[in-house]
Every structure is written in C-alpha cells, then in structure tokens.
C-alpha cells in the first residue's frame, strides 16, 4: 500500500521503546545462579557444569537451526572436531597460544560450513538431515584415516590449559568461570538474532518457505549464514573441550556425541533459543544422579528422556507455560 491507509502518526514514525522485562529478569537470575553455583557445589559437580557449558554451546548451534529455521543438522560433531583438532595442532605442534587455535578452528569450520552448506542447504526436511549425517560420517572417518593430522585412535595429548592475559584456566573452577560467560554470551547473541529481523525471516521460512520467498526472504542465503553460525559454535565448543580435557582422539567425535548435541535443545524446548542451556545441564546431571543405581541407570536415563518429551512437549522451558495451562 501506499501507506495512506495508515494513520499519519504511524506513517511519520514515533518509535516507542518496548522492553520484555520478564525475560530480562530470567536472564539476570540465570547469570546469578550460574555465578554462585561453583561456590556451593563440589569440584565434581563444577566439572559436570563445565561439560554442560560446552554441550550448551554446541547444542545452541544445532538447536537454533532446528528451532528457528527447521533445519536438522547432524554434522555438528564434525565442526566440534575441527575446532578441537585445530586447537590441538596450534598449541601442541606449533606451540602457539590457545586463542589462535580457537580462531583457526572457527575460520576452518566457517569456511567448511560455507562450502558444504551451499549445495547441502538446497535440500530440506529429512533429505537435509540425511545429507548432514553423511557429512558427519565422512568427516569423522577422515579424522580416523588422517592419523598424521589427528593422531587417529591414539589421539593428541598434552594440550595446554588456555591462558588469557597471563591468567591460566587450569582448574575446573577457573575454567567454569571462563566457559560459562562464553556460553552465556553466545546465547545472548543468538537470542538477539531470534528477536530481530533475521529471526522473523527464519521462523517465516520454517513455517512456509514459499510465502517467505514472496516476502523477499532469500532462504538459501539465510540458511547458509545460520549453518555457518552453527558450525562456529560447534568449533568453539570443540576448542574449549580440547583445552579442558587436554587430550582428544577420534573417540571424542562420534554419532552419539552429535545426538546428544541435538537432544540438549530438544529437551530444553527447541523453539526457545535458550533451550540448549537447561537441556545441557539436564543431560550432564541426570546420568550422574542415576549412576548410584548401578547398570540400570542407563535404562532409567532413557526412560527419563522419554518422560520429559512426553510430559513436556515444549521442553523444560515450557514447564512454566504447562503449569499455567493446567
């Protein structure tokens, strides 16, 4: 329209400011809880929370693709591995600072995701899921075959703890305060995308690709950007993993790992960009809480996941809404 159908005040623009106070409060509470947690928990649980942070970062990438754009990415562990191996090489073989390894992993993962994303993202639905699965299989097989680069099943050890401005994050407690701020920053940035114009376009594209195209949403370009972004998060997570554990091998980059990366946002409530955060904590703690029960804990763990999905189809973050509906 010629927007002559709209009132004059609207056409002129009078941008009022709106805030989503509830979500801001939830974010503050989350940050405070996470900041206080290591002071109240034993080192063992702090260690679990560090792994939860790493899973949350990689899960954020796949969850964002799935929840916002409807893209199932089963190749996240490939980018996780690229980040980890880049860090291992830069720090162990080249003896350079860990931050450079993290950056190299990000650059390689982004470039690889761009090159692979352009042809793959022309597919959709289960075809795309299978294509990303194939990509994951190829890359993890290359990790195994290229033992001159990856150390194969022997792996690469002696990866130093990451240091920043002379401060070495060499204990679970210190690493916790390094990894979680990075994770929260990633969540904040991606939730900003979801709230913004690209997020609107992604969700439109997810609901009706044809109608989104008519609204001038260039779905190929947008999907590729998101795929690259997801790969970058996978790579950052892999780099942090390599630094924290100090040793990586092909055993670290399996199909099971990629499934866990998808489960984290699904358990959390995949439509919410923050879903991977509670999902990752849940997936890191539940096996630990059940393990005193002996071998039966694996069955109970599986049962627990099924129950969460059945009882809370909108995920852990949907519990508040579920209670309200009830």
């Amino acid at each position: 329209m010629d927007r002559s159908l709209l009132p004059d005040s609207v056409r002129a623009g009078s941008a009022s400011t709106r805030h989503s106070g509830g979500r801001g409060l939830a974010l503050v509470l989350t940050c405070v809880s996470l900041a206080a947690a290591p002071l109240l928990l034993s080192v063992h649980y702090v260690d679990l929370l560090v792994f939860a942070a790493l899973l949350a970062i990689s899960g954020l990438g796949v969850g964002f693709l799935l929840g916002q754009a409807g893209i199932i990415n089963l190749a996240q562990v490939a980018f996780y591995g690229i980040g980890a191996y880049a860090t291992a090489h830069v720090t162990v073989a080249w003896n350079l600072p860990g931050l450079l390894g993290l950056l190299l992993g990000v650059v390689i993962s982004a470039a690889f995701a761009l090159v692979m994303g352009l042809p793959l993202l022309r597919l959709s639905g289960h075809f795309l899921a299978l294509a990303t699965l194939a990509l994951m299989v190829i890359v993890t097989q290359l990790f195994f075959e290229w033992d001159w680069l990856t150390g194969g099943s022997l792996g690469i050890g002696g990866i130093p703890k990451i240091s920043l401005f002379g401060w070495t994050f060499d204990t679970p407690m210190k690493f916790y305060y390094f990894a979680w701020p990075i994770a929260l920053l990633c969540f904040w940035m991606l939730s900003n995308i979801a709230d913004g114009r690209p997020g609107l376009a992604m969700r439109a594209m997810r609901d009706s690709p044809e109608a989104a195209e008519v609204m001038a949403v260039d779905s190929t370009a947008l999907r590729t950007k998101l795929f690259v972004l997801s790969a970058i998060l996978g790579s950052i997570s892999g780099s942090l993993f390599a630094h924290y554990v100090g040793y990586i091998s092909v055993e670290s980059f399996t199909l099971e790992r990629t499934i866990v990366m998808i489960m984290a946002p699904v358990i959390g409530g995949v439509r919410n960009p923050w879903s991977a955060l509670p999902g990752a904590i849940f997936l890191s703690f539940l096996p630990e809480l059940l393990s005193p029960l002996g071998e039966v804990y694996r069955i109970l763990f599986g049962l627990g996941l099924v129950l969460v999905i059945i009882l809370f189809p909108q995920g852990l973050l949907g519990i508040a809404n579920w209670r309200r509906v009830k």
């Binding site: 010629d2 114009r197 439109a204």
Partner: protein, 256 residues
C-alpha cells in the same frame, strides 16, 4: 478518448507445458499502473500456473513477462521480483502458522528493512529501531485490516477468513506495486466477501495495481477489465458486462 495508461505488467505470448501437456498457449495481456484487472476461467484453465510464472515460481517455456518495462527472465527469482514490488497471495492462504498475527504482518515488512544477522546479533541500535518501526507499522496495519483484537494470536489458530485477511495485510504492508490475488474470497462468508471487496477498493484507490483471480462474480464485478482463460488460452477480454454478453464465455465458464 481514453488516455493511454502505461503498462506495469506485460505478459507477452506466454506458453507452458507440464510433461508434454500444454497448460498455457501464447497468453498475452497487460496490467496498467493502478489498474484492477481480473482473470477468470474454469478450474484447470491455467490461472494458477500463470500466477506462478508471473511471480517467478515457474519459468515459461515460451514468451516473456515484463514488469515496469523490464523483462523478467530466469535470473529474476521470486525474491527479486518481490523486491521490485510484485507480490502474490495463494489460493490456500499461506500464513506463518506458528507466528502471531502481528509477526505475520511484520514479515511483510522484511524487504522494507535492512538489519542483518550481525546487527541483530550485537543488538545494534539501528536493528532495534528498525524492529520497533516494523512493529509499529504492523500494529497499525492490523488495525486497518480488522486484526487488532487478534494480533497476539498464532496465525495458525485463525479462521479461514481471518487467515485471508492476515495474508492480505502482510502483502499490502510491504507496499507492492502489483498485488496478485489468487482466489481471495475462497472460504469466506458472504459478509466477509463484502468486507474484502471494500478493502480491495480502498487498496486500489491508493494507487496499487491488482491482478485478481476469482470465481466470485460479485467480487469480479469491481474489476476494470477481465480476461477469460480457457484451456490455457485467453478467449475473451473486456468488461465484466461484456463478458456476461459473450456467448463463448457463457458456454465455457459462466454456464448461462
């Protein structure tokens, strides 16, 4: 004598076939700037294929489409055509079901804004201002289209009539130059068709050209000129009154 109004859309000798079956044969017609042109014909006559060709979902085997005197070839896809101001709605309304009504209309403003992934990710002031502006315009548009009371509802929960309205509001808010409406009255109650008619008249009076496909003769009575499509060919063109008097049109379509 009428002044010659330059054409906004020119369809020249367009032909198409699916699997060897001809669905369109040398179809030619124009839509003038600000015009309200109708396209009628029995089911299977090729109207939707023609719509798909004009908006870029399908490329014609023969002929060409010109928009504002520029030929729209294979390199011009749906997104580019939309950016040039060529917009359509669908026979079955394609609303974004999990988005609220307000967000659906905001999606119509996507091409009128520029905030990219980086600007949104870093919450730059420009991106935030742009979203607020989109929201403000979308809210006002919802009110104009009678959607004010349902702005926060998911579009997937609406009735067929309300979905049509959302689709129309979403298309109109993006300020297209040509709006192509595919069966906009399908599934609407009689009073809703009346409201649609009023809205279309208002939109057209604001200078927007409309290409309308409908089986609803009451709605079609508002068009300046109508083209009758039968078995992929235009068999007659003129005013609706002329079409009602045309024996061939009566035989193949109007069933009088």
């Amino acid at each position: 004598m009428n002044a010659i109004v330059p054409s906004l859309l020119q369809v020249e000798g367009v032909g198409h076939a699916f699997g060897g079956v001809h669905v369109l044969s040398s179809v030619s017609f124009n839509v003038p700037h600000g015009g309200l042109i109708g396209l009628i014909g029995p089911n299977g006559s090729g109207k939707t294929t023609l719509f798909n060709i004009i908006c870029g979902f399908v490329h014609p085997l023969t002929g060409r489409v010109l928009f504002d005197n520029r030929a729209l070839d294979r390199s011009s896809n749906v997104v580019q055509r939309s950016r040039h101001g060529l917009l359509r709605t669908f026979q079955t309304p394609k609303v974004f079901e999990h988005l609220s009504v307000l967000e659906n209309v905001m999606a119509g403003l996507y091409k009128c804004s520029r905030g990219g992934v980086l600007a949104s990710m870093l919450r730059m002031p420009l991106a935030r201002r742009e979203m607020l502006r989109m929201q403000e315009l979308a809210e006002a548009t919802c009110n104009v289209f009678g959607l004010g009371s349902m702005m926060q509802r998911p579009a997937g929960s609406l009735t067929a009539g309300a979905r049509r309205n959302v689709e129309l509001a979403r298309a109109v808010v993006s300020e297209p130059r040509l709006l192509m409406l595919d069966e906009p009255s399908s599934g609407l109650a009689k009073e809703e068709v009346g409201q649609l008619r009023e809205q279309l008249a208002r939109i057209n009076q604001s200078g927007l050209a409309i290409l309308l496909v409908s089986h609803d003769m009451d709605l079609m009575s508002m068009v300046d000129r109508v083209h009758v499509l039968s078995s992929g060919e235009i068999i007659a063109s003129g005013t609706m009154a002329e079409m009602h008097r045309n024996p061939e049109v009566q035989q193949v379509y109007l069933g009088l």
